[in-house]
């Protein structure tokens, strides 16, 4: 089969309602072309839409080593001591991540000065390298501890950081370009972009039609590390929280034969991780599961996602919902229809059940 080529959306989203939506119904093998504003009439009263309410962090930091070398840090995971970060060398956001230069060599104990955005002046933030990955010389994956109290750290990160940027865009991203309209706690390192086309116009109409809304918080991770070796390890383990209220809504939806729709692959990972031991449990956890064609989905009946090309990790997750032949046919059709891919592109809604 010829590989479909989806062109990237080259500008941040201006109007959410313009997003196109490809409906892929796996049991029927049917594909149809819609707009995101059609979503309410594509769903049924009693269905439940689960959204990732993580706000997106300014996870890209400019830093300077003790030798004066410059690098970009992309925060990729939060843990008890600090953050795991990917280090990138020469080049800026206009250069694709995989073409960026190697980062300067850093060892455990090295000190990094975080710089103000767009300038080489120090921000009021420093970090210590407390671990490095053994697979790269120089290391590309760093464990960092920031020299700040927890309460002040977030404010300092916001002051110094910018959203992670994408080379395919025609302008740099601001923080407001990467927030969903219901975002709350800043857990995501890159935007949970599947909900990027959802406005309160559409969410309100969903509720008025009897579709319930609910949330999880999931620390959506980074999409690219600059290293093919590290990229194969993506997604890294991601922190999530499923509130008790969401469990109750899922139970209520099931009892009225409603379907559970995950908005974004992060929500699939959160809900299926929370159910990985059998029963769905509320609370926090780390999503480490890899969802693919052979994954036995326990919770989610459909996923609303961006457009993805075959052989990407997101496409493989969609294969848990529909056979790859149907997904490839859908991708080819989407390319013919002029659908766009990537963070600000169009969307697909894949039902694994009728």
């Amino acid at each position: 089969m010829a590989t479909a080529v989806l062109s990237p959306a080259s500008a941040p989203r201006q109007e959410r309602s313009r997003q196109r939506l490809l409906l892929i119904n796996s049991p029927a093998g049917a594909i149809s072309d819609h707009k995101i504003s059609d979503l309410p009439r594509l769903l049924a009263p009693g269905d439940l839409l689960v959204l990732n309410d993580a706000a997106t962090l300014p996870a890209s930091l400019r830093a300077r080593t003790e030798n004066g070398d410059l690098l970009e840090l992309r925060l990729a995971q939060r843990n008890a001591d600090g953050f795991l970060a990917v280090a990138l060398g020469s080049g800026d956001w206009r250069r694709p991540t995989e073409e960026r230069g190697a980062p300067p060599p850093l060892r455990r104990g090295a000190r990094l000065e975080i710089l103000q955005p767009k300038r080489n002046r120090a921000a009021a933030l420093t970090a210590t390298v407390i671990g490095t990955d053994p697979d790269h010389i120089p290391p590309r994956l760093l464990a960092l501890r920031f020299d700040h109290s927890a309460g002040d750290l977030m404010q300092a990160l916001y002051a110094a950081g910018r959203p992670i940027q994408y080379a395919y865009l025609n302008r740099p991203l601001e923080l407001w370009d990467v927030q969903n309209v219901f975002a709350s706690r800043p857990w995501a390192f890159e935007s949970p972009s599947a909900a990027g086309g959802l406005s309160w116009e559409v969410l309100g109409e969903l509720r008025r039609r009897g579709v319930a809304l609910s949330s999880v918080t999931h620390a959506a991770g980074i999409s690219s590390t600059g290293s093919p070796f590290l990229d194969r390890r993506l997604p890294f383990a991601e922190e999530y929280e499923v509130p008790e209220a969401t469990i109750l809504k899922i139970d209520a939806a099931r009892s009225r034969r409603g379907r559970i729709l995950a908005v974004g692959t992060t929500v699939v990972r959160a809900l299926e991780s929370a159910a990985s031991s059998g029963a769905l449990r509320a609370g926090r956890g780390r999503a480490e599961i890899v969802v693919g064609s052979d994954y036995p989905l326990r919770v989610v009946d459909a996923v609303l996602s961006g457009m993805h090309e075959p052989r990407t990790s997101h496409f493989r997750l969609l294969e848990a919902f529909a056979p790859s032949a149907l997904l490839e046919r859908a991708t080819t059709l989407a390319a013919e229809l002029g659908y766009h891919q990537h963070e600000f592109g169009d969307a697909c809604l894949v039902f694994r059940t009728g």
Partner: protein
């Protein structure tokens, strides 16, 4: 509304009514993210809450700065959890002594609107979507009788407060179906630095204390289910005669 364990974001929290609200909500078991432009007076208010056994965190920022919006909203949610109570208390009179409209610089009107109207709009935009998703939340706009009375020389401030009242009504009209409640409250004349800047020769004995007014606003929050969504309340008339 049961206040204990709720999360609040209060702007203009370093002095006057904002500081009193921070202390009183902190004392009622609310986790408070307290925002102000200057760290030191804010840190003192936060320390008072903590000494009394409450939870409060200082957030330094200016709501008139568009680029600070998501820093404020995100930091607050990180510190206290998804915000349940948002109180738009920060406000500016513009240059004092207050001037007649024809003597007011256009830039001064714009600045007053940024602090008193556009900034709160941006912050609500960043915070209220999460409330709507969770079908839970209260937004309070601190108003003034200048919002409804046309006092000469109060032009820029008056216009901003009238628009702020209507912003509250519109938010209520749009978010009511999602379980979010919005009201504005005229605190009445209080003995604050801001009042002294506006009316330097006022008889301070005739003014309410910020603590008295804060107690009434806290009581409004407790009884928010009984308040018509979008209502404009007067602190001096609270509690209402039943």
């Amino acid at each position: 509304m049961h206040l204990e364990n709720q999360a609040a974001l209060i702007t203009g929290a370093s002095r006057g009514l904002g500081a009193a609200l921070t202390r009183q909500l902190g004392a009622r078991g609310v986790r408070v993210a307290a925002l102000a432009r200057h760290h030191e007076p804010l840190a003192e208010v936060v320390a008072q809450v903590r000494q009394a056994g409450g939870q409060a965190h200082a957030l330094v920022g200016d709501i008139a700065d568009k680029t600070a919006t998501y820093r404020i909203a995100g930091s607050a949610a990180e510190l206290v959890g998804s915000v349940d109570i948002l109180i738009h208390n920060a406000s500016t009179l513009g240059p004092t002594p207050l001037k007649l409209l024809l003597d007011t610089e256009c830039e001064d009107l714009s600045e007053v609107l940024e602090v008193n109207l556009v900034g709160p709009f941006r912050l609500s935009k960043a915070v209220a979507g999460s409330m709507a998703l969770r079908e839970k939340g209260v937004i309070v706009h601190v108003s003034s009788d200048a919002a409804v009375q046309a006092y000469p020389r109060w032009g820029a401030y008056s216009v901003s407060k009238a628009a702020s009242d209507h912003l509250a009504r519109l938010l209520a009209a749009e978010l009511g179906e999602h379980g979010v409640r919005v009201f504005s409250v005229d605190p009445g004349e209080m003995d604050t630095e801001m009042h002294a800047a506006a009316i330097p020769d006022a008889d301070r004995a005739s003014l309410s204390s910020p603590d008295q007014v804060a107690a009434r606003i806290v009581d409004m929050l407790v009884h928010v289910e009984d308040i018509a969504n979008g209502a404009r309340l007067e602190a001096t008339q609270w509690p209402p005669l039943s």
